[in-house]
C-alpha cells in the first residue's frame, strides 16, 4: 500500500510539472506576444521597454523565465502583466464568490443527482423512469450559458423574481447573497444532475445483478434493506468520485461560463478576462490551482479505491 501511494505521489508531481510547463508554453507561443510591450503600455519608449525586459527577465532564455515565474508563484509575489495587480490578492478576492457558487451548487447537484438516480433505477423501464430520463437528457443537452441567459431574462428582467446577476458577499447581506446565488446554483446544477442520475442509475442496475445482492435477498432482507445497505453503498462510490473531481474543477474556475453569464466576479471570470488580455500570470496561477485540486483529489480517489479493492494495487 505504501509503495502504491508513493508511486501515485511521484506521478502527481510529474503531472503538475507538465501542466505548468504546458500552460507557460501555450502563451509563450503567441507571436507578437512580447509581454514587455503590454506591461509598458502604448506610450512606453524603447528605453522603458528595454528596462521592463531587464526587470522581468524577458530577455533571458525561456527556461530561466519559467523558473523565475514559478518562484514568484510560490512566493505569492507574482503580478499581472497588463493590470499590475498582485495575482494572489486578486484570486483571494474572487474566491468567496466561486466558493459560494461551488458549495451551494455542489450540494444541490449531488442531492438531486442521487435522488433522481435512485428513483430511475427503482422504476427502471416504467413511465417515471422514462420521464426523468428524458428530463436528464434535456439537462445534459442544455448549454449553461443559454440556460443562464434565459433564466436571467425571464426570471430577472420579465418577472423580476431574481436580481440581474452580480454577487453580494455573505458577510455583507446573507439574504441578498442567497437571492443572487440561487439562479446560478440551479443553472450550474442542471447539467451535473443529468450526468449523475444517469451514472448512478446504471451502476445501481449493474450492482443489482451481483452475487452478493442475490445472497442478501436469499437471507431474506427486504428490498429496502438491500438497496440501502448493499446496493447503494457500492454504487455511490463512483458518483462520489465524480463529485470530487467536478467540485475541484468548479472551484478552480471550471464554472467559467456560469460566472460569466451571471457576472459573479469569481475565479472563472478572472481567468476568462485574463485570457482575453493574454495576461499569462493570473491564468497560469488559476490553471495550476485547479490542476492541483483535480490531481490531488483524483489521487485520493485512487488510494481510496485501492484501499477498498485490493485488485487495483496489484495492477
Amino acid at each position: 500500500m505504501g509503495r502504491f501511494i508513493i508511486r501515485r505521489l511521484i506521478g502527481m508531481v510529474g503531472v503538475l510539472f507538465a501542466i505548468s510547463v504546458l500552460t507557460f508554453l501555450i502563451f509563450e507561443a503567441i507571436p507578437n506576444g512580447d509581454p514587455a510591450l503590454r506591461i509598458g503600455g502604448r506610450l512606453a519608449t524603447q528605453a522603458e521597454i528595454a528596462q521592463i525586459r531587464q526587470e522581468y527577465g524577458f530577455n533571458k532564455p525561456i527556461y530561466v523565465q519559467y523558473v523565475r515565474t514559478m518562484e514568484k508563484i510560490f512566493d505569492g509575489t507574482v503580478t499581472s502583466y497588463t493590470q499590475g495587480f498582485n495575482v494572489d490578492q486578486e484570486i483571494r478576492r474572487a474566491l468567496p464568490a466561486t466558493l459560494s457558487l461551488a458549495i451551494g451548487a455542489g450540494i444541490i447537484w449531488l442531492f438531486f443527482g442521487i435522488v433522481f438516480g435512485v428513483v430511475t433505477a427503482i422504476t427502471a423501464g416504467k413511465t417515471l423512469d422514462r420521464l426523468l430520463t428524458v428530463l436528464a437528457l434535456i439537462g445534459v443537452s442544455c448549454p449553461v450559458f443559454f440556460l443562464g441567459a434565459l433564466v436571467l431574462y425571464y426570471f430577472g428582467f420579465e418577472w423580476g423574481i431574481i436580481p440581474l446577476g452580480g454577487y453580494v458577499p455573505i458577510t455583507q447581506n446573507p439574504a441578498e447573497w442567497f437571492t443572487h446565488l440561487i439562479a446560478p446554483w440551479l443553472v450550474l446544477s442542471v447539467l451535473f444532475i443529468g450526468i449523475y442520475s444517469r451514472v448512478l442509475r446504471s451502476t445501481i442496475l449493474d450492482t443489482q445483478g451481483e452475487d452478493f445482492v442475490r445472497t442478501a435477498r436469499a437471507k431474506g432482507l427486504s428490498e429496502r434493506q438491500i438497496l440501502m445497505r448493499h446496493v447503494l453503498r457500492n454504487s455511490l462510490l463512483p458518483v462520489l468520485a465524480l463529485w470530487g473531481l467536478d467540485f475541484a474543477q468548479v472551484i478552480g474556475g471550471g464554472a467559467i461560463l456560469t460566472e460569466t453569464v451571471f457576472n459573479l466576479h469569481g475565479v472563472g471570470q478572472l481567468a476568462a478576462s485574463s485570457i482575453e488580455r493574454l495576461d499569462i500570470p493570473p491564468v497560469l496561477v488559476i490553471v495550476m490551482i485547479t490542476a492541483f485540486a483535480v490531481v490531488i483529489i483524483s489521487a485520493l480517489i485512487d488510494v481510496l479505491y485501492a484501499l477498498l479493492d485490493p485488485r487495483i494495487r496489484l495492477a
Binding site: A29, C142, P143, F145, F146, A149, G253, G254, I275, T290
Partner: protein
C-alpha cells in the same frame, strides 16, 4: 492453419458484417446471431431513439440545405446587412431594424422568417449557415478524438509499462485542465497564431482551429476507458493465441483487440459528438471559438445575449436549435448504448 482460420473469422475483421456461418436464416432468430445484428434489431424496436435520431438527421439536412434556403427562399446571404430597409409584414411595411436599434422579431414569412439581428441580417439564414459550421466542427472534432483516443488507449493498455506510463500521465495532464479553460486558452492563442506543426499549416480564423481544440481536450474521456478495457483483455486467451502465432503487435492491437473494444468506441461516438458541439458553442460564446465573420450557434447566442432584453429571439433561436440537435444525438446515443449492452433485458 485451422486455428488461424478460426480466430480470423471471429475477431479479425473490424466491421459490422456477420460472418456467413454465424448469420441467421430467413425470418426466425437463430442462436448464432452476431452482436451487431442483435444490437441493430434492439435499436430498431426503440421508437423514441429512432425518432430523435431522425430529428438530428433532419437538422443536418436542413443545415446542408442552407445555400438553397438562402438563395431560393430568403433571397439573401448570411452576411448581407440591411439596417435601413423595410419588410412587408401582414400588408404593411415595417423597419427591419427599428429607429432605436431594435431588430424585428420573427415574421413567419419567407423574408426574415425568424427575424433579423442587430445588423439587419436574416437570422434563419445565419442559423442554417452557423449550423453547418457547428456541425462540421463537431464531426471533425469527434473524428480527431476517436482516432487519437483509440490509438492511445489501445497502445497504453496493450504495451503497459513505460508506454502506458507516458500516455497515461499525458492524458492526466489534459484531464487535470478544466476543459473550457484549456479550450479558451488554446483558442485565444491559436486564433492569433494559427496552427503550424511541420506540414500542417492552418490559419487562425479557420474552422479547423476550434475543431482541433475541441477534439484535443476530450481525448482522455475516451482513451481512459478504452485503456482500462484493453488492460483487462490483453491477458485473455485469444490474445495469447495470436501472440503464439507470431502476429505482429500492430496486428494483435488492431486486428484482435480493436474489434473487441469496438462497441465501447461506438457508444462513445454520439456522446463525444454532443459534447463537441456544446464545447464549440461554449468556446465561441467566450470569443475563443469560431471567429467572425463566420457564424456558428455559439457566436449567434453570444451576439444574442448582448441584445437582451431588446431582442430575446436572437438568443432563443440559435439556442433552441442547438439544444434540439444535441438532444437528438443524446437520446439516439442512449438508445445505441442500450442496444449494444449485452446485459440488456430487451427481447430481440
Amino acid at each position: 492453419m485451422s486455428i488461424d482460420a478460426g480466430t480470423k473469422s471471429i475477431g479479425s475483421e473490424f466491421s459490422g458484417e456477420i460472418p456467413p456461418e454465424l448469420r441467421g436464416g430467413e425470418g426466425d432468430v437463430p442462436p448464432g446471431i452476431g452482436p451487431y445484428e442483435l444490437a441493430w434489431r434492439r435499436l430498431r424496436r426503440n421508437r423514441v431513439a429512432l425518432a430523435f435520431g431522425g430529428l438530428f438527421l433532419l437538422m443536418v439536412v436542413l443545415c446542408l440545405l442552407a445555400p438553397v434556403y438562402a438563395h431560393d427562399i430568403a433571397h439573401t446571404t448570411p452576411a448581407a446587412e440591411n439596417i435601413t430597409g423595410t419588410v412587408k409584414v401582414g400588408g404593411k411595411n415595417e423597419y427591419i431594424v427599428s429607429l432605436i436599434g431594435i431588430p424585428i422579431g420573427p415574421t413567419w414569412h419567407s423574408h426574415y422568417f425568424l427575424g433579423a439581428d442587430a445588423n439587419g441580417r436574416d437570422v434563419a439564414v445565419r442559423l442554417l449557415y452557423g449550423g453547418r459550421n457547428s456541425l462540421q466542427i463537431g464531426f471533425v472534432a469527434t473524428f480527431i478524438t476517436m482516432i487519437m483516443a483509440t490509438i492511445l488507449g489501445i497502445a497504453a493498455g496493450y504495451f503497459r509499462g513505460l508506454t502506458d506510463g507516458v500516455i497515461s500521465r499525458g492524458l492526466d495532464v489534459i484531464w487535470a485542465f478544466p476543459a473550457v479553460l484549456l479550450g479558451v486558452a488554446l483558442g485565444v492563442t491559436l486564433a492569433v497564431s494559427g496552427i503550424d506543426i511541420g506540414p500542417i499549416k492552418i490559419s487562425g480564423n479557420s474552422l479547423f482551429v476550434p475543431a482541433f481544440i475541441v477534439g484535443f481536450v476530450t481525448i482522455p474521456y475516451v482513451a481512459k476507458p478504452i485503456r482500462a478495457q484493453v488492460l483487462q483483455m490483453r491477458d485473455r486467451e485469444f490474445v495469447d493465441v495470436a501472440r503464439q502465432q507470431g502476429l505482429s503487435h500492430a496486428r494483435i492491437m488492431f486486428g484482435e483487440i480493436l474489434p473487441n473494444v469496438a462497441s465501447t468506441i461506438i457508444v462513445f461516438i454520439p456522446l463525444i459528438l454532443a459534447n463537441a458541439i456544446l464545447l464549440e458553442a461554449a468556446l465561441s460564446f467566450l470569443g475563443a471559438g469560431v471567429q467572425p465573420p463566420n457564424p456558428s450557434w455559439g457566436t449567434m447566442i453570444s451576439d444574442g445575449v448582448a441584445e437582451i432584453p431588446a431582442a430575446i429571439h436572437l438568443t432563443l433561436v440559435p439556442g433552441i436549435m442547438l439544444v434540439l440537435t444535441v438532444l437528438g444525438i443524446n437520446v439516439f446515443g442512449d438508445g445505441v448504448r442500450d442496444a449494444l449492452d449485452p446485459k440488456a433485458k430487451v427481447r430481440v
